[in-house]
Each structure stands twice: as C-alpha cells, then as structure tokens.
C-alpha cells in the first residue's frame, strides 16, 4: 500500500485523465509529467527548509546548545519564519553592480538541483523522467551551479565577492575531475549510464563494497562541490566575509542559502544511487517502502556532511588544490585501473 503510494497516485491521475475521453494521450501524459515535476519542486523546497532546521539542531547539539525552539513545536517553523522575514526585506543593489546579472544569479541558482532531481529515481519506478544517459546528464547539470556563483560574485563588483567567485571556479575545476573519475568505476562494473540500471545492478551487493575507494573519493569531491566545510573557502566567512553573496540581502541571500542545501541533497542522493543501492532495502527489510529507504540513506549521508561542517576547520586554497590534484585524481585513476584488472580477472575465472 505505502510502497505504491506515489506510483499509484500517478496511475490514478493518468486513468482519470484518460477517462475524460476527449483528451489525446500526449496531452494527458504531459499533464502527468507537469504534476510530477511540480511535486519534485515542492519536495526540494520543503526539504531545503527542513535541512536548514536540521543543520541548526545538529550544530546546536554538537556545541552543547539547544538550537531553535521558539517558533512552532520544537522550533520546527523557525526556518519558515526566517524565510518570511527575508522575503519582506528590501533588495539592495550595489551602485556599480551589473544589475541584470546580479539579479539573475539568485534566480538561476536553484535551477541545477531542480533539473537533477527530475531524473533521480527516488523509489521503485519513481523517477519523474527515466533518462538512459542519466549519469552523464547528472554530472553535466550538477557542475552548472558554479556558473551562477561566479555570476553573483562578478556582478557584485566587490573584491571579496570576486575572490570568492574565483575560488568557486578553481574548486570546481579541480574537484569535478575526481568526481567524474570515481564514478567511472561504477559505470565500468554496471555497464550502463542509466540510473535505474545502476540501482538494479545493486540488488544483491551495494557498490560501496566493490568500490569503497571510489565512494570515498566521490564523497570528498561531492562535499567540495557543494562548498561545504572543510572545503567552504568559497564562503569562508572569517576570510572573505561571505564570498559571492556578500552583497546580497533579503531573498537573494535566501536563495543562495537554500540552494546550498538543495545541492547537498543532490550529491547525497547521487551517492545513495551510485554506491548505497538506491532504494533497495538492506537485509530483506522490504516491508518498509523503497522510497523511505532512499530517504533514510540520503539523510544518513547528509547527517555525516553536517557533522563535517561542525567539526573541521577550513582548508586553505593551495592545500585544497594540492589535495585535489595530488591525491584524489591519481587515486581515482588508480581505482579505475584496479577495477579494470579486477573485472578482467573475474571474467577470466568465470564468476
């Protein structure tokens, strides 16, 4: 029953639209698709709000504090109240800023995570769109957000913003490579770029067990991609105030802020799909619906990322580059090499 909650709803909607009679199938299908995408949109926004609350609570408990506890039960509505406050604020545009680009950046910043989530299978038969080049699409879109950070930093016409923007680009260039290379091992084993195929291949053994090093590299690179601590040099509030979004106030700032959490969700969902078996239930616990399993795994990863943030200091920019190019890239190349040899031997033995 719960397992098919969402799939069933879609089918019901489809049959309802089909029952009207005079609607052509194409139109009915596109209505269903729009409904699916709006659902994804709402899901991401609500989740981003929840994640801000969760981060504040996690931080509070790690720092021997209580955290938000005034608005709503257990402070659950705190982030909603914060966003309400930010919306009501005036949008201040610096005098010498490039107005169009300045205003466009926070609008576009939410686009990449939304586009990525459209193809993620978040449960059995639960991808809004099932692309056969899913991994390729995912990587291409996920690295887009760098552009919007750079837009914001450049258009602000502020030296701190520019420094932050340059750091984003440098970070993206050096961490995109290990991110992609680490996924190559997964793709070699599965032999497909389709996300549903990758999940189906993990029905018995999760890929984290066959590709542990790839998982580590992916996770580190993913944390760096989302500009999270210890790789949060882009914001680096004690060095360059707030990086690309120093000059933003009100909703512009809120959009950047929420996009950070949407991006964390995206990379953690990617790690879940690629390495943790996606929506497959471990130990045969299939009475819990597949989409619940997906969220549990995703949230465990997000929780780990949050713990990083509240434990580690920030790494320096040259150390960041050094770590990316001297450690992660060679390691991921070695991983591909070892995976290839392993696959060759396995086939030769005939497993």
């Amino acid at each position: 029953m719960l397992e098919n909650l969402f799939v069933g709803t879609t089918d019901w909607l489809r049959s309802l639209l089909g029952g009207i009679g005079f609607l052509p199938t194409e139109i009915a299908e596109s209505i269903v698709l729009v409904v699916k995408l709006v659902a994804v949109l709402v899901f991401i926004l609500v989740n981003a709000l929840w994640l801000v609350y969760m981060e504040r609570k996690v931080a509070a408990f790690m720092q021997a504090r209580i955290g938000p506890n005034r608005v709503g039960p257990w402070g659950l509505l705190q982030t909603t109240a914060d966003i309400g406050k930010l919306i009501s604020k005036e949008i201040i545009i610096p005098k010498k800023a490039d107005k169009v680009v300045f205003l466009l950046a926070p609008v576009l910043i939410f686009m990449p995570p939304l586009m990525v989530f459209a193809v993620l299978p978040i449960g059995k038969n639960m991808a809004a769109l099932d692309l056969n080049i899913g991994v390729f699409y995912l990587l291409a879109i996920a690295s887009l957000s760098t552009l919007f950070f750079f837009m914001g930093g450049w258009a602000s016409n502020n030296k701190y913003s520019l420094l932050g923007a340059m750091r984003t680009v440098a970070q993206m260039v050096s961490y995109e490579l290990p991110l992609v290379l680490s996924l190559l091992g997964v793709i070699m084993i599965v032999g497909s770029l389709n996300l549903s195929d990758i999940i189906a291949a993990q029905e018995h053994t999760w890929l984290i067990f066959t590709q542990p090093i790839a998982f580590l590299i992916f996770f580190i690179a993913a944390v760096a991609e989302t500009n999270r601590c210890p790789f949060d040099l882009v914001e680096g509030e004690s060095e360059i105030i707030n990086g690309p979004y120093t000059e933003y106030g009100g909703m512009g700032f809120a959009m950047f802020f929420l996009a950070e959490y949407a991006n964390i969700m995206v990379v953690c969902a990617m790690a879940t799909i690629m390495f943790l078996g996606g929506w497959h239930a471990p130990f045969g616990l299939t009475f819990i619906p597949s989409w619940v399993w997906f969220f549990i795994k995703m949230y465990v990863l997000i929780f780990i990322v949050m713990q990083f943030r509240w434990t580690y200091p920030r790494i320096r920019v040259d150390q960041l580059m050094g770590f990316g190019w001297k450690v992660l890239v060679p390691l991921s190349l070695a991983n591909i090499f070892v995976t290839g040899i392993g696959m060759y031997i396995y086939r030769a033995i005939g497993w």
């Binding site: 720092q63 004690s238 060095e239 434990t311 580690y312 200091p313 920030r314 320096r316």
Partner: protein, 367 residues
C-alpha cells in the same frame, strides 16, 4: 599583452576576523600578499589623556577598558605602579586575591583566544565550546567583583572586596574540571589535521626578531625565548608558586596558539596553589591609605605579565592628586609591529590565521 595586476583589498575595519575595528590595507597579487599596511586607531578613546583629569583612584575603571578580556590584569598593573610610587605595602591576603582573580582573568582571556582562533581558521564548534567554560569563569568573576568583564577589582593598596562564602570551593571545583576541558580543546582543535596544516610553519618569528621588535607574552615565548615576568622578575607573591613557563620551538602560528593552551594549564596550577595557601592567610584586604592620594613628585614605571604580553604603566606625578602624565605600554599594540613583514608572501586565508595567533584586543591597541 597579458599581464597580472596588483590590487588593494581593504581588510577591515568592518571585518569579522579583525577581532574588532582594525584595518589592514592589503596589496594583493591574486590571493598572495605583496604588502600589508596595518591601520589602527578606530577605537581610540584617549585613555592616557583622560587619566590626567582624574584622581588616582578614578583612573582604575579606565584601565578596565583597555584589555577588557583580562581587565583584572590591567587594574593590577596600574595599582602596582601607584603603590610603587607611594611606597604602599599591600597586605598578604590582598596579594593572594589579586593572584587568584588575575590568573582567572588570564584564563578567561586565553580560553577566548583559543576559541576565537578556532573560529578564525573555520571551526565553529571549538569557539562555542570555549565559550561554555568562559561563561563559568565569568560567573565566578561576577560573584567576586560584581562585574563580568570590567572588573575594577584592584584598589590602590589592596582589593575591593573579600571573597564571599563558598566562592573558593566553587573556584576549586571548576579548576579541578579545567584539565578535562583543555583536553577536549586539544582533541577538537589542536589535534585536528587540517588545523595543524593551516597553522604550522605559517607566520614564523625568529627569537632575534621577536626580541628586536620588543614582542612579549605568548608571541615571544612561542619563538623559544624564556621570558615571563612572573618568573623573570616576580612581582606580588609569584615567587611562592610552583609553575612552568611553556615555550614553543618554531615560533609559528601553531606554537603561539599552543603556548596559550599550555599556559592555561599553568594558570590552573597557580590558582589551585593559591586557593590552598589563602585559607591560612587572614587579615585586611586593603592597606591603610589616605583618603586623598597625593603621591610624591616623581615618576614610576611598573610592568606586569598580562595575558597578551607585558603591560607597563609609566606615571609622572607632580605632587597633586591627579597624575601629570600616564603612558601605557600596551602589549597588543607592540606585538602588531611586525605584522607587515609577517604577512608578506602568504595568502589571504593566512592573514586571518596570523592576526588571530597574535591575539590582539582592539581596546588595548588603540587605548
């Protein structure tokens, strides 16, 4: 033709990492520092000039406002200078109370420096954990002196009040817990790989330059120069206590940070011994001094070891009830003297690490 261009970045006065209103005008080549020009004075209140229009007792609250993180040490330095000028003998119990409250002030200052340094290099949790202990010490200081930060506890000839009932036991209990807390800081901050990578071999100071630039406090001792006034020229009753002077070896940011952590342990040791010894000492807490203080004509210079370094008070008296001239040797200000050369060649992120490791207080820099 393609070429790179140097540009100027105004680091402060409104910047989270300058610990107040301090400005460094950085000339940058990309992220690398070519030149750094410190600009101070944004918090200048003219305390030295104000002192000339106040009686000797009225100057005490002004000294609070210099290094407001270790106010008791500032009070102490000032009253010692006046006592030296007038030749006043301080009662023994008052000396013990000064040691206890002074070392407690040093602890609060060092705990804050440790936490803020963690924040400077990006670790937020260390910052708040240090504040947790600082709060407990602040409560104790408030109970003793009536104020959390601006203590104004020392008086010319003694201290303002005796301890309240049970206060010493509370302090003793906290001091028993302190080593555990310091262990926690070491686990979270000092031992962290990224923290060490960020701070080791950054902003190195050789013993020669440290001495030539007249640096003092943990900044000097981190370079391996064993000079702590509490040991070198014991003032008050410091010769009665058994403690060590922690020294660094490299003189880098990490050593400066770690020196403070080790000094906290020594402060705990001193306070523990002082609590033991004060129980046997009874008597007045303030010497018999005239209502109107009129020191004889002359001048005096007295220095003590503050949490940031050596704080010295130079007072000229013309025989009236107000100082003719007062000058304060502020350690934070003098420790900043080498900043330009220290920063050259490092990255923007290192500016924060180096500035944080010197541990300045802007109230004292600008006076």
């Amino acid at each position: 033709m393609l070429r790179t261009q140097e540009y100027i970045l105004n680091f402060g006065p409104q910047h989270p990492a300058t610990h107040g209103v301090f400005q460094v005008i950085l000339t940058l080549d990309g992220e690398r520092i070519v030149k750094a020009e410190p600009v101070c004075g944004y918090l200048h209140r003219g305390i030295e000039k104000l002192a000339e229009a106040r009686t000797y007792t009225q100057v005490i609250p002004y000294t609070d406002r210099m290094d407001y993180l270790a106010a008791m040490l500032q009070n102490w330095g000032y009253v010692q200078a006046v006592e030296k000028l007038m030749g006043i003998e301080v009662p023994e119990r008052a000396e013990y109370l000064r040691i206890i409250s002074g070392e407690l002030s040093r602890l609060t200052s060092h705990v804050l420096a440790t936490g803020v340094y963690a924040l400077d290099v990006g670790g937020f949790t260390g910052f708040l954990l240090c504040f947790r202990e600082r709060e407990k010490m602040m409560d104790l200081l408030e109970e003793l002196t009536g104020s959390r930060m601006t203590t104004s506890y020392a008086r010319i000839g003694g201290v303002a009040d005796d301890v309240t009932e049970g206060w010493l036991d509370k302090l003793d209990k906290l001091m028993d817990e302190m080593p555990g807390y310091i262990e926690e800081y070491n686990g979270l901050i000092t031992g962290n790989e990224i923290f060490q990578a960020r701070t080791k071999f950054i902003g190195k100071l050789t013993p020669e330059t440290s001495i030539n630039y007249s640096l003092s406090g943990p900044v000097l001792r981190a370079s391996g120069v064993n000079y702590d006034l509490r040991k070198a020229k014991p003032y008050g009753i410091y010769d009665r206590f058994d403690f060590e002077v922690p020294l660094g070896t490299n003189g880098d940011c990490f050593d400066r940070f770690y020196c403070r952590v080790l000094e906290m342990e020594q402060s705990v040791r001193i306070i523990k011994q002082a609590i033991e010894q004060i129980k046997e000492v009874d008597g007045p807490i303030i010497a018999k001094v005239p209502k109107v203080l009129k020191p004889p004509k002359g001048e005096v210079y007295q220095e003590i070891e503050s949490s940031k370094g050596i704080i010295g008070y130079y007072i000229v008296s013309d025989g009236t009830n107000k100082p003719y001239r007062m000058h304060v040797r502020r350690p934070s200000f003098i420790n900043l003297g080498y900043l330009d050369e220290m920063l050259r060649g490092y990255l923007v992120a290192d500016v924060v690490a180096i500035l944080g490791s010197i541990d300045i207080v802007l109230g004292e820099v600008d006076c």
